[in-house]
Symmetry: C2
Subunit: 100 residues, 2 copies
DNA sequence: GCCAACTTTAGCAATTTAGCTAAATATGTA
DNA sequence: TACATATTTAGCTAAATTGCTAAAGTTGGC
């Protein structure tokens, strides 16, 4: 493995790592139905707003989300809806794991 | 979020977490071209065999790989080639991240 | 300007993860 | 049986992650 290839895998792993958390998966799933502000997401998830904000900034930093301030609120939306394709395959693995 | 839904996201996050590491991404990518034994993978990756073995068992535990012992060697292969679809989207995110 | 609501950042404690080395287990061969 | 090769497991340390609370920024309305 050359250093360049290693760097590529590292960059890809960063993106997957951003998705690899229950709360962040929920956020991505929820944003697939339209943009939401931090307060809306916080109301749905059972953790404090600072925690939600940090999850959002991780997803944003990974390039998966983008945020836009409108007044006092910041609305987030999916920048790459293709990440939703992950769910299908992950669910297939998940179902087979449950049945065996 | 109900507890059942939470558990579902947790299970999905576990699967993504198994993929979210440069070495494990390399392994999945390599296995997309056919099964490989632990020693072959170790020769390609720049880490010790026990470390590779542990990465493999994580991927196996997540349901992504399966291993089969043949003689003294254990060969691993992809159980869900659909995980390869991840690469396309992840690469799209990655490219856009680089250009901005 | 002042206050309230929304969001982010900082700092902390508990947990998890990743790599290593050493030791244990499994298989094939002399 | 004894030994060499292949793999896994165990135990350790260093680093990263997650959640919290408290504090600091932003924005809108009075």
């Amino acid at each position: 493995m050359t250093t360049a290839i290693q760097a590529e895998y590292r960059a890809q792993a960063e993106i997957l790592k951003a998705l690899a958390h229950p709360t962040r998966l929920f956020i991505v799933d929820e944003l697939s139905r339209g943009e939401r502000c931090v307060c809306e997401l916080t109301a749905m998830i059972g953790v404090e707003m600072p925690t939600v904000s940090r999850h959002l900034s991780q997803l944003k930093h990974a390039g998966i989300l983008e945020g836009e301030r409108r007044g006092a609120q910041v609305f987030y939306r999916l920048r790459f809806p293709c990440v939703l394709n992950f769910f299908k395959c992950v669910k297939a693995v998940q179902v087979r794991n449950e049945n065996k």
